[in-house]
């Protein structure tokens, strides 16, 4: 297997990666697709091929829509390699991965489609068992049909939180409360983008339907909540917050936190190519041309790992990248017509995005913890107060926090604390996150066993 050379290596089997592979195959390119999971679909269409009908019904039609793409992919003739962890990508297209053994493939081009991850939600108590991401709980539902055993509290903001509440209601799960942190300022911020939202009325009406179902269900909803914190000794015991100026304490053993998703940029950052701070989505994103190519390298990025756009837009981006790659490799002469069609689709699917970004912009206090005792780096247990003390001593950016206190040096390699650390330092220094910069990410970007390299 070592040393395979192919036209295109795709990393990630979510909508962007699957669609790119299909498009590239249709244009006659040879394609190898690598994915960390053992099933295709990414997180959004997780377990799409094996989920039983009842579960699909609960998850809704946007999930079931993944079936068509999965089927197209299976027919595409892509060399699919699931259960593989990519740990290195070079700018000239060499990809190293492990799958119980080590292997290398070389793509004349490489498309990185590593998707999104939930934005960290650094509040007091968020490291306790029983506090987890709402997206994580949705993965448990998609992948295992797992439901909360007791009344669950959903807290934060963003479409995924309301979607999960809707799915739980359909499945008959007991929701103790929804604690919504969307603030009044969010509606004001979102107003100038309302026209775009109306133009993207399909997405807007879906969202409104979810909220209406939640309202009808009788589940207590605390709107405009702030100052979230979790109490507990060895596991979650309660969620506390402020609501209409008053402190509230809700007993709960399972609290699902969510305040949006952000690009999972670990792979693209590890290439050393340029990224910039997106001040609307409050995250890093790779700098690409309109097709997704990074500089003049062999590397492309598509989907949520390039900036949050959602599943359907991700698929369109994947296909656009494949078109450009085919042209670059001389496999397609004229891509203008197909390109125009795909760009039109992409524009349609992203019309509502500025509205969502503005409305569900997470509260500053839930991104940059004002409390000194909140854990920011969960792996090495570095607190907000410690990071601020590093800045007092002259620490300028995330990479220096490593020397000060091992921040970002645990097994997650800074994936989970990176955005928080950047914003925290930016606030403490009084400068823009762009100036503070991001962790320098180096391969291997996944833990590898020495045994994988021994025959």
């Amino acid at each position: 297997m070592n040393g395979d050379v192919t036209d295109l290596v795709v990393i990630g089997a979510g909508p962007a990666g699957l669609a790119a592979a299909c498009e590239a195959r249709a244009l006659g390119l040879s394609v190898i697709l690598l994915d960390e999971q053992t099933t295709i679909g990414g997180q959004i269409y997780r377990n799409i091929e094996a989920a039983p009908p009842d579960r699909r019904e609960i998850l809704g039609e946007d999930y079931a829509a993944g079936e068509k793409l999965a089927a197209e992919f299976r027919e595409s003739g892509t060399d699919y390699r699931g259960g593989t962890s990519v740990w290195n990508v070079t700018t000239d297209g060499t990809v190293d991965y492990v799958a119980g053994h080590s292997a290398t493939v070389t793509g004349r081009c490489v498309l990185m489609a590593s998707g999104a991850m939930e934005r960290p939600f650094p509040i007091k108590g968020w490291t306790l068992p029983g506090a987890m991401g709402a997206g994580a709980a949705q993965i448990l539902l998609k992948g295992a049909g797992a439901m909360p055993s007791g009344p669950v509290v959903l807290a934060g903001c963003g479409p995924l939180l309301y979607l999960l509440a809707w799915q739980y209601l359909r499945a008959g799960a007991e929701i103790g409360a929804v604690v919504d942190t969307t603030d009044v300022a969010g509606y004001v911020r979102a107003l100038p983008h309302a026209f775009g939202a109306i133009m993207g009325w399909r997405d807007l009406s879906k969202g409104l339907k979810l909220l209406a179902t939640l309202k009808r269900s009788g589940v207590p909803v605390y709107s405009g909540a702030s100052t979230l914190a979790i109490e507990g000794e060895t596991a979650v015991e309660a969620l506390t917050f402020k609501h209409r100026g008053k402190p509230v304490r809700l007993s709960a053993s399972l609290v699902l936190l969510h305040q949006g998703v952000v690009p999972n940029t670990q792979l693209s950052l590890s290439t050393g190519l340029e990224h910039h701070w997106n001040s609307a989505q409050l995250c890093w994103q790779p700098v690409t041309d309109e097709w997704g190519r990074m500089g003049d390298s062999a590397l492309y990025v598509a989907g949520d790992s390039r900036g949050i756009v959602g599943a359907l837009a991700s698929a369109a981006q994947g296909r656009l990248a494949a078109l450009s790659i085919a042209k670059q490799l001389g496999a397609a002469a004229d891509i203008a017509q197909r390109g125009t069609e795909l760009k039109r689709q992409l524009a349609g699917h992203t019309r509502i995005r500025p509205f969502l970004d503005a409305l569900y912009r997470p509260l500053t206090e839930h991104r940059v913890p004002p409390r000194d005792d909140v854990t920011v780096c969960r792996c090495e247990e570095v607190t907000a107060g410690q990071i601020r003390s590093y800045v007092d001593l002259g620490c300028l950016g995330p990479n220096q926090t490593k020397t000060f206190g091992r921040c970002g040096m645990g097994p997650c390699q800074g994936r989970f604390c990176g955005l928080t650390v950047t914003e925290l330092i930016a606030e403490a220094r009084g400068v823009d996150p762009e100036e503070v910069g991001h962790y320098r990410v180096r391969p291997p970007i996944k833990p590898v066993l020495l045994g994988d390299f021994v025959d």
């Binding site: 119980g100 987890m132 992948g143 596991a235 007993s251 645990g410 066993l449």
Partner: protein, 109 residues
């Protein structure tokens, strides 16, 4: 209200069941699900202890990003239980603190 498990799996197991062990105790779980999902539904609340303060930890992201779900699987430490499917006979243990280098151990399963 305290419950014995954070999650349960009410569906019948279409793909059958397998038996794994956690800290030596057998658990019968649906085939095809992740180790992390199986442990959560099996009533495991603490997967590991943190490396500095020794605090209890459990999965946070379920998609391979946070590394909170690290456990020892079949003698190999620091495995991401959210990414690994259950297999008949799998022996899983809590990961306590930081991993020590073990020479001669950790044969790949």
């Amino acid at each position: 209200m305290a419950t014995d498990t954070f999650f349960s799996i009410p569906e019948p197991s279409a793909a059958g069941r397998v038996t794994i062990t956690f800290e030596g105790e057998p658990l019968s779980v649906p085939a095809g699900i992740s180790v992390a999902a199986a442990l959560l539904a099996g009533g495991v609340k603490t997967f590991r202890s943190s490396v500095v303060g020794g605090g209890p930890r459990a999965p946070y992201c379920m998609m391979g990003v946070c590394f909170e779900c690290l456990v020892e699987i079949d003698g190999v430490p620091a495995r991401q239980s959210c990414l690994i499917p259950v297999r008949e006979g799998m022996a899983i243990r809590r990961q306590i603190g930081a991993v020590e280098l073990q020479f001669g151990a950790g044969e790949e399963a």
